[in-house]
């Protein structure tokens, strides 16, 4: 028989002691300040915000580091050492007071693209409308996957002392995956397919991926990109030719609303703690706005939306004029959200607040 390792020998010694009736039971009284905690379910159930009270609601301004992989509020034996896995451990750089509540909201408002979309109501559409929808879905499927990857990447770096934020971001990862899936599914479900990818979208997404820190990435991805997407989904419901797309847009809209609620309150928190860093946010938004404007007017973006807005290729110009309202609303709501976060972007915005269609004779 092979010789045991020290670890195995130690374990077997422990087992022998237990066989003799010698138990440690030290864990039972290890955390007196965290013991005796109760939580009362509210009318909708037991939420994260209901349990994170007292001892367990002590959120450090800076993660202890020593806690390593331990859940916040537990007792840490002296032998625990941090593996140094998380490097986002300053509360001022990631927190938002609404994260726990949004997590509760997210987990109770999940949906799925398998059974929640009335796929049985799909109907054959005129070729121009099907192509426009499929092109729109191609773009959306592309952008949502990057939102997924970027969120997951930053989430994995956040110290688990701030688990409210990590948990909320985990729901966002699931949301973005679902959006990727549902737009792909719509494109492939009705006789069409994926159409043309967008160089301008790649440029915008590259800026999101390359953002230097969590907050600038969030400002760009959530407040700019997802803010514009939310308004597009609201318009999408208006533009949708069938109940299928209408349901998709409505469900995605709910998810985007949560992401924005976290992002705006986080930016507000960040700027309250680091007002001197407002310029960094402005700078990344300068880049993002330019890319967004380019993307908005790129043929594979604006033309399918205009076809849907006009009701067909024959009325694409009418559709363009209708899209002017969408664009103006996207910019208006974006500026309003930034203002709530404490960033007055209006004097600084680098793109037109309205599309100058009248002066172009459209």
């Amino acid at each position: 028989m092979a010789r045991h390792t020290t670890i195995v020998d130690t374990g077997l010694d422990r087992l022998r002691e237990m066989a003799r009736g010698n138990f440690s039971l030290a864990w039972m009284d290890s955390n007196p300040s965290g013991w005796g905690h109760t939580s009362v379910p509210g009318p909708v159930g037991l939420r994260l915000v209901d349990v994170e009270t007292g001892h367990y609601a002590k959120i450090p301004e800076r993660a202890s580091g020593r806690a390593g992989l331990a859940p916040r509020g537990s007792y840490l034996p002296e032998t625990i050492t941090s593996p140094g896995f998380y490097d986002l451990n300053d509360r001022s750089l990631l927190w938002s007071d609404n994260a726990a509540g949004l997590y509760d909201e997210a987990v109770t408002r999940q949906w799925n693209s398998v059974t929640d979309i009335p796929w049985d109501l799909l109907q054959e559409l005129p070729a121009d409308l099907e192509k426009a929808l499929c092109q729109m879905c191609t773009g959306l499927a592309g952008i949502e996957m990057v939102a997924d990857d970027v969120t997951a990447r930053w989430m994995s770096r956040i110290d688990r002392d701030f688990h409210e934020v990590k948990l909320f971001l985990a729901t966002q990862v699931m949301d973005e995956a679902r959006h990727t899936d549902v737009f792909r599914k719509r494109a492939l479900a009705n006789g069409g397919g994926l159409l043309m990818d967008s160089p301008c979208q790649q440029q915008l997404l590259s800026a999101v991926i390359q953002a230097p820190d969590y907050t600038t990435a969030g400002a760009l991805m959530h407040i700019l990109c997802e803010g514009f997407s939310l308004t597009l989904f609201h318009a999408g419901e208006f533009l949708a030719p069938t109940e299928v797309e209408k349901t998709i847009f409505r469900l995605c809209m709910q998810d985007e609303g949560r992401h924005l609620a976290y992002a705006v309150r986080h930016l507000e928190w960040f700027l309250r703690h680091h007002p001197e860093r407002a310029e960094e946010i402005h700078s990344i938004l300068d880049v993002g706005e330019q890319a967004m404007f380019q993307l908005t007017l790129e043929p594979q973006t604006i033309e399918p939306r205009a076809i849907l807005g006009g009701g067909g290729l024959h009325d694409i110009q009418l559709g363009i004029s209708r899209l002017a309202f969408l664009y103006a609303r996207q910019v208006r709501d974006y500026l309003r959200r930034l203002k709530i976060a404490g960033l007055d972007r209006e004097p600084r915005i680098s793109i037109p607040v309205e599309l100058p269609l009248k002066s172009l004779g459209i």
Partner: protein, 159 residues
């Protein structure tokens, strides 16, 4: 179960048909009763935590949602009497009436009469609020709110 806007009518329901005049506190209270009767269908969407101020011409009605039901309905004398956190759904009586009649006639809205379609261009209905994050509650709870107004099909409304 899918979540198409017109496909979830007729929950537990039961009982005599409710009648009420729109707009009125009584009308919204009747709708709250229908919501309670149909609670199971709202559970699929998740709980609500928001306040809607319905503005019909120059009348204001505050509906506070909590969980899977309506916590309170108030007639307001002015918008300034509303709870600080709220969003507004406003429009002329004719627009409200058209939406409600469409829902009643079709047991759910057709494609042109969903909340999203009616509000996107700021007409005939408009979403507003004290700030953009409050307005965003309209988006966050959209499925439940659409379902709430779908339930108006169960009310015999007079105007």
């Amino acid at each position: 179960m899918n979540l198409a806007s017109g496909q979830l009518m007729g929950g537990a329901g039961g009982g005599e048909e409710k009648t009420a005049v729109f707009p009125s506190v009584e009308w919204f209270e009747k709708l709250a009763e229908v919501m309670l009767e149909n609670e199971a269908s709202y559970r699929r969407f998740g709980p609500l935590d928001c306040t809607l101020v319905a503005v019909v011409d120059d009348q204001f009605f505050e509906v506070t949602f909590l969980g899977y039901g309506v916590e309170s309905v108030r007639h307001l004398y002015a918008l300034s009497d509303a709870a600080p956190s709220h969003f507004i759904l406003q429009g002329p009586l004719a627009a409200w009436r058209e939406m409600l009649e469409n829902i009643r006639a079709n047991a759910g809205p057709d494609l042109e009469h969903t909340l999203g379609s009616l509000t996107f261009r700021d007409e005939p209905l408009r979403i507003d609020g004290p700030d953009q994050l409050e307005i965003d509650a309209f988006y966050r709870y959209h499925e439940s709110l659409q379902r709430f107004f779908n339930d108006t099909a169960e009310i015999d409304t007079t105007y």
